[in-house]
């Protein structure tokens, strides 16, 4: 059981999907690795590392009933890598501002150019339909001093977007 598959399921959010999916995998003797379920735009989305399968087809077969019952779309890929490969971020970037096109590309582009490796990005639109507020959190690893990251984002700050950058010091005890 050293090969992992990346299972992606997307669909309308309804109660019981995760339970049905994991039960079906369990019944076929498959195991779960890391998983992340999120509601995006009211939709159910989940990505799960699945182990213990002969091939991708076996996973699709195991989930065929659940996929049909809940009206999900399914994607299964063999994947490189595995468990125990966590990286701890050392920088957290927060972006808050009026929603406008291109903001993610501008922020991430500047961060990449400044040498930051993004591990985790969470972006959302808060506020109301008339007055949307854009909220984004980016955690990553950067050897570049924070001051230089700040400098790289400075012109965005001047254009009405609030950007804060702070170090993340993981406490081990």
């Amino acid at each position: 059981m050293n090969d992992w598959y990346m299972l992606t399921l997307v669909g309308e959010d309804r109660p019981g999907i995760v339970a049905a999916v994991t039960q079906a995998l369990y019944e076929q003797g498959m195991t779960l690795g890391e998983a992340s379920m999120l509601r995006l735009g009211g939709n159910f989305t989940v990505m799960i590392m699945v182990g213990g399968a002969e091939d991708a087809g076996q996973i699709r077969q195991a989930l065929a009933g659940v996929v049909e019952r809940f009206g999900l779309r399914m994607h299964v890929d063999p994947m490189a890598g595995g468990l125990h490969q966590h990286l701890a971020p050392n920088v957290l970037v927060r972006v808050v501002g009026a929603d406008r096109a291109g903001i993610v590309a501008q922020v991430t582009g500047r961060l990449a150019a400044a040498g930051m490796n993004i591990l985790d990005l969470d972006s959302d639109v808060a506020g109301t339909a008339e007055q949307p507020i854009y909220v984004m959190q980016i955690a990553g690893i950067s050897e570049t001093p924070l001051e230089q990251l700040e400098e790289a984002l400075q012109d965005l700050t001047q254009s009405g977007v609030d950007v804060t950058i702070e170090p993340v010091e993981t406490l081990v005890g």
Binding site: H86, Q137, I165, P167, E169, V172
Partner: protein, 174 residues
């Protein structure tokens, strides 16, 4: 001096409450030396608690004087029978644990605490702590009560929505 074995979750011994120290003798001091050597042996731990090395006594070591960015701290502390008497505010921070390899998560802790403890001679002490050092002490005292940071981890989405104030870079955590 010796490097002691660190118990790893889900070892049930990490889940037991530790008892108070009543005897302040050479044996205790020798143990604290070993505990310190064990703390320094691993990768960059700012604290360690006696139950992590299978000694169910209320003894912890905390040292926040060597962080990447300097933080307010009281230097190297051996805290016997530590007790938090006051809490104030709360903030989120990222934690890991010598007893939980290869996992880190976000945890809410009190921003400021008042702490009483005894030193290795049994003398009573009091500290006002904030931020990172206060977090370290709360993490270690949890070990004395059979708790792990895993019991308090919140999802990153929780972090996003619960943090209501957006600080400018450079301002103190709070």
């Amino acid at each position: 001096m010796a490097v002691l074995e660190i118990l790893k979750a889900p070892d049930p011994r990490l889940r037991q409450p530790a008892s108070e120290v009543t005897t302040f003798d050479d044996e205790l001091r020798a143990f604290v030396d070993d505990l310190e050597e064990t703390r320094l042996h691993g990768p960059g731990a700012v604290g360690i608690a006696a139950p992590q090395v299978d000694r169910l006594q209320r003894v912890v070591i905390v040292d926040c004087s060597h962080t990447r960015k300097p933080v307010p701290n009281h230097g190297h502390l051996v805290l016997i029978n530590p007790e938090i008497t006051e809490w104030e505010g709360h903030e989120i921070g990222r934690e890991g644990c010598l007893s939980v390899p290869d996992y880190t998560g976000n945890v809410f802790r009190a921003s400021r605490i008042r702490l009483t403890a005894q030193d290795l001679e049994g003398r009573h002490q009091e500290f006002d702590m904030e931020g990172y050092e206060a977090r370290a002490v709360q993490h270690e005292i949890d070990h004395l009560d059979g708790l792990l940071f895993l019991d308090r981890v919140v999802s990153r989405r929780t972090d996003l929505f619960q943090r209501k104030t957006y600080r400018k870079a450079g301002e103190p955590a709070g």
